[in-house]
Subunit: 216 residues, 2 copies
Amino acid sequence: MMILYQYWMSSSSWRVRWALRIKGLEFEQVSLDLRAGAQLAPEHRARNPMGYVPAVVVDGRCLAESVAILEWLDETHPTPPLYPKDPWLRARTRQLVELINAGTQPLQNLAVVERHSKDKDERKAWMAHFNERGLEAFNGVVGIVDGELDRVGKFCVGDSLTAADLYLVPQLASARRFGVDVAKWPRLLAAESAALATPHASAALPENQPDAPRGK
Amino acid sequence: MMILYQYWMSSSSWRVRWALRIKGLEFEQVSLDLRAGAQLAPEHRARNPMGYVPAVVVDGRCLAESVAILEWLDETHPTPPLYPKDPWLRARTRQLVELINAGTQPLQNLAVVERHSKDKDERKAWMAHFNERGLEAFNGVVGIVDGELDRVGKFCVGDSLTAADLYLVPQLASARRFGVDVAKWPRLLAAESAALATPHASAALPENQPDAPRGK
């Protein structure tokens, strides 16, 4: 059985938990406490030399990076798909994914924020700034997608859940946590609501993970 | 004909220039001067709301994010391939790509470095730190790939050039610019040499672009 190394609050872990459930795969979930530095232990660095979660272990081989995991899942378990069939819409989906995965989330990574400043307020301002910048760009690209589809879809790309939604939802949660006013992006909030109403969304939510604090 | 908006020194532009040439596609190359802020002009933000290069325009539609462009090129022009056929090696290739694309390069982005510090030495230290961290992790994953291949390949993943090489080569160039001692990664330097010896490498080099300063 597959093993998923994760942390309840990690947005990258959230994406992969969600994808595994959409694909209907059984997996064992092992939690690493990022606040205690468990991801930096040599045994985890052997799984992922970057010292990040998530990482999956399949037949004794370990894979990290949420994009690599999602694409691999989609190639080896194609139904239901996480990417559209049309090549251009697949490209748009990946553009949206990278706007979060490369353009936004890395900048709020713990190791990056700690290297930036020791000041708590400055850290929060930094994270708010880059969340706002990334989601503003994401909103612009969703507008382009809607224009190309010649109408407004229910999700980020058309009327089916795609990988783009699995990146948007955790990022909006981060943005709220850092005090970003997300109400200015009604199109993104509509896609978020649609995504959260799909069958496997609830089981993947941070607060529903075994390592989440109780009574919150 | 396709149009590529790029900047000679941009490592993301380098990857896409290289991929387009490997695929044998004709394209018009338009340069934006990042030092003058041309990427932030409204006309470019309409192409890429993030205000980054590269961006390609195809049949009047614009696509950005190097990963989305490379995957789209590979799906629409499969020969020669930029990703291996085997699903697990494809996943490894994407893991390496994201170690650079999400884990390393975004942290040296101009907008990020400018937000971090006004001090020139601190900026250089920041960029050196994250280049070293990212390439150290990349080196670790290449070691895993070699172990799984049961021998050391010529390139990052086996004996064919893949997208992973197109991300490694520009990042090693950045690392050298920021003063990182790259000699500690002989396996990466061997892959770099192999990649630079392939037919289309030279035409994609920064110094061979029309917007590069002459006589340098």
